[in-house]
């Protein structure tokens, strides 16, 4: 390193570390830039998303539809702050004498569909990326928390509006 008065000075361990970190950052930026150029810039878009919470008893169903607190993902990030809920009777399968099954309404359980609009990006493979990294697709299982209550849910619709 050049001393301000024009003479060279010895590098100490802090200097080495500083330079090493700077070089690493530079390399990381370089790779990131190349990666973005190769994969293409992700398109920003909105998607109408629906997930279903199944098998709720009446108390938990009423609690869910009355609660306006946001749904949080397992990592603590917010999935939905504004949403609409729709309640359906849950169905169950009943065995018949001949071994076949019939789907009937379950009088003691409810299924709540939660709809919301999510903002995210469209990945190069066409997947909707929520929050930059979280992929959302139909059939995906989610573990959600709302007002200290944990629910398991299935994504049943991801309809991307445009990009």
């Amino acid at each position: 390193m050049q001393h301000p008065r024009g003479r060279y000075v010895k590098l100490n361990i802090a200097d080495y570390l500083l330079i090493a970190v700077a070089v690493l950052l530079l390399l990381a930026l370089l790779f990131r830039g190349v990666g973005m150029l190769v994969s293409g810039k992700a398109e920003t878009c909105r998607a109408d998303v629906e997930f279903v919470v199944r098998g709720l008893d009446e108390t938990r169903m009423e609690q869910l539809i009355a609660e306006k607190a946001p749904f949080l993902l397992a990592d603590g990030s917010t999935l939905a702050t504004q949403f609409e809920t729709t309640v359906h009777r849950e169905t169950m399968l009943v065995w018949n004498e001949d071994g076949s099954m019939t789907e009937t309404e379950d009088p003691s359980a409810y299924r709540v569909t939660v709809s919301f609009t999510a903002e995210g990006e469209l990945a190069s493979d066409g997947t909707f990326l929520f929050g930059g990294t979280r992929r959302l697709a139909t059939g995906e299982a989610l573990v959600l928390t709302q007002a200290q209550v944990t629910y398991t849910a299935d994504v049943v619709r991801v309809s991307v509006r445009g990009g």
Binding site: V52, G99, T138
Partner: protein, 163 residues
Amino acid sequence: MEPTQTRTDRAAILLINLLSILLPLVLLLGFLWAAQPRTLQRNDTALLYTVTLPAVREEYLSGLQADVPVLDAVSKRPIGHLLAYTVEPATTQGYHQRAGRMRLVEYPGHKRVTMTIRAQGKRMAGGYSLAGFTLYQGEKISLRLPNFVGSGSCTGLQAQALS
């Protein structure tokens, strides 16, 4: 550096400085590169395989779409391109009480989906290496399409050596 040192000494020290920074960095990057799973491999075989998902909820079928990339749901690595899919009634076992025997019956609300996927892999002992795992017939696969997530088994595998 002391003021009494010559120009040659200064140059030598600068070179040592540079090497002492770059050498550990090169070793570190080399170690990281060697430690990561191999994503690049020399594919020598064209693969056409089918994956059967035995019971997919009917409400998830809206997310299915042909002519899209397929990713391994766990590693998020590409494992081919979905050429086509078929949807048939899903079946399960039921007990016929009067006859006293098991029989295959329709599984209400569910469908069996068979996907035909084209990919390129590398021939391995007993199977084909595809995005980091070895594909055999009967192998369980969790796959992710742009708007669909599901699990099934490889039920058919055709391979053709690439020239």
